[in-house]
């Protein structure tokens, strides 16, 4: 089923691919959380236009398949006169896409903090930004940590989609090796096991984290 020799012979290409996938995941997660925080705050804002704009953004991205967003960015950005290349294109795409999902997670997190905390922070003279930064968001993000990590695992798997625009992420490198050597079954089985080996331990860790957080609260 697996041709270890073939894997070893191509280890550089495959390692590079894996690193690319991990980098893309890390970048889109961090970028997605930052942008997602802003979107969540906008969504919860009392200023209606801001709230509606944020809602429109989130609903748009959540209603379109990721593959389409990847294509759309890749082909349409050059059309508007920006030459950014496939790499930058997917980094931006994933950040924008993930931000929509993270913003919903963060919004739920913010809403899970009691109004009393807000009142207490205001009563001490903290401003709205200070209240969010020092009181509400730290608690919200902590509560949301397991869900966010789950989303990150999903994101890591989704990065394999960038193969369709010819990027050599882990999936892309695997495909190259597979077709160059006529070893589809062997290489795709190997890829499946590799994805599993990254994702499963994280999922297990998450379960334990869930329990620990449940104890602290």
């Amino acid at each position: 089923m697996i041709d270890l020799q073939l894997v070893l012979d191509n280890r550089e290409l495959l390692t590079e691919g894996m690193l690319y996938s991990l980098q893309l995941t890390a970048f889109a997660t961090l970028g997605g959380i930052v942008l997602g925080c802003l979107l969540a705050l906008a969504r919860l804002s009392a200023f209606k236009p801001l709230s509606l704009l944020s809602a429109a953004y989130v609903n748009l991205f959540r209603s379109v398949p990721l593959v389409l967003v990847i294509f759309w960015f890749y082909f349409l950005i050059p059309y508007f006169g920006f030459q950014i290349g496939p790499d930058k294109s997917v980094f931006i795409t994933f950040t924008l896409f993930e931000a929509a999902y993270f913003s919903e997670i963060i919004r739920a997190g913010i809403q899970s903090i009691s109004r009393g905390q807000l009142a207490a922070a205001y009563a001490l003279g903290l401003t709205y930004p200070q209240t969010m930064r020092y009181v509400i968001l730290p608690q919200a993000l902590r509560n949301m940590l397991p869900v966010m990590l789950t989303q990150t695992v999903v994101l890591f798997q989704d990065t394999s989609l960038v193969t369709i625009i010819g990027i050599k992420d882990f999936m892309g490198s695997t495909s190259v090796v597979a077709s160059n050597n006529g070893a589809m079954t062997e290489m795709y089985t190997f890829a499946a096991i590799a994805y599993f080996c990254v994702c499963f331990p994280i999922s297990m860790l998450l379960k334990r984290l869930h329990k620990r957080i449940a104890v602290i609260r």
Binding site: S114, G116, Q117, A119, A120, A121, Y122, A123, L124, G125, L126, T127, Q130, Y134, V135, P138, Q139, R142, I216
Partner: protein
């Protein structure tokens, strides 16, 4: 110090406060009581601008709370508030709870803030717990920390919204003792509470509210001696039975 003048507030169609008028002088301790839903919390939250109101005015040390140009965070930093459910920040240690606003709002440096915080923690008898987190303290201890946190801002007045009603009976006194001491030191205090023993011992005046109105606003002895309104009489007899 606190001048509340003809304050009215509506939630949509529902009028929560109707023409509330009272004054609290410097150093005065005023207890606010009344049945559930009568608007006590709402009134006290209007004083530091946590709740907006539609008509009337509130002056705190000469600053109008409802005026458009008022710097509310600044005003709130000068008025301490203690809540029914303590509202310590659970992700911060006791020391950090005491220091956060001192540093971020008053601009004190970390050492100064810590020293002030520990001094107040000592005053409420909890110095040994400085490094703990709120979840590790009992309700009474948390409420005392909350009082210390408010005092760390050097407030000109303190607002209390039922500070003991979420506490087990054996913890009520440790909080009331801190409040009593505070009153003895001349702090201006507005306390929503049903602890009539505390009111008798400590308050100068008692305000009785019903259905959003200040029905009775009398010196302590007058209030407990002979409340004028029937509602207040009923309320008192109910509450003093147990």
């Amino acid at each position: 110090m606190i001048e509340i003048d003809k304050v009215s507030k509506w939630y949509g169609q529902f009028q929560v406060l109707t023409d509330c008028t009272t004054r609290i002088a410097k150093g005065e301790v005023v207890v606010v009581c009344g049945p559930s839903g009568s608007g006590k919390s709402t009134l006290i939250k209007c004083v530091n601008g946590l709740e907006p109101f539609q008509s009337g005015s509130i002056l705190v040390d000469g600053t109008s709370v409802g005026a458009p140009g008022t710097n509310l965070p600044k005003l709130r930093s000068r008025v301490g508030m203690v809540f029914q459910h303590f509202e310590l920040f659970p992700h911060l240690s006791i020391t950090e709870n005491l220091c956060l606003a001192q540093i971020k709002v008053l601009g004190r440096n970390a050492d100064e803030a810590r020293e002030k915080g520990l001094q107040l923690l000592d005053r409420v008898g909890l110095k040994a717990h400085a490094a703990k987190f709120p979840g590790q303290l009992s309700g009474g201890q948390q409420q005392r920390v909350a009082i210390a946190r408010a005092l760390a801002m050097d407030p000109i007045a303190m607002l209390f919204d039922e500070p003991t009603s979420a506490l087990d009976p054996e913890m009520i006194n440790e909080v009331l003792d801190v409040m009593t001491q505070l009153a003895a030191e001349g702090m201006t205090m507005m306390c929503v509470t049903h602890e009539m023993g505390f009111a008798r011992r400590v308050a100068h005046r008692v305000i009785f509210m019903d259905q959003g109105q200040i029905v009775e606003d009398a010196a302590k002895d007058d209030f407990f001696g002979a409340p004028r309104s029937e509602r207040a009489q009923q309320f008192l007899s109910k509450i003093l039975q147990h």
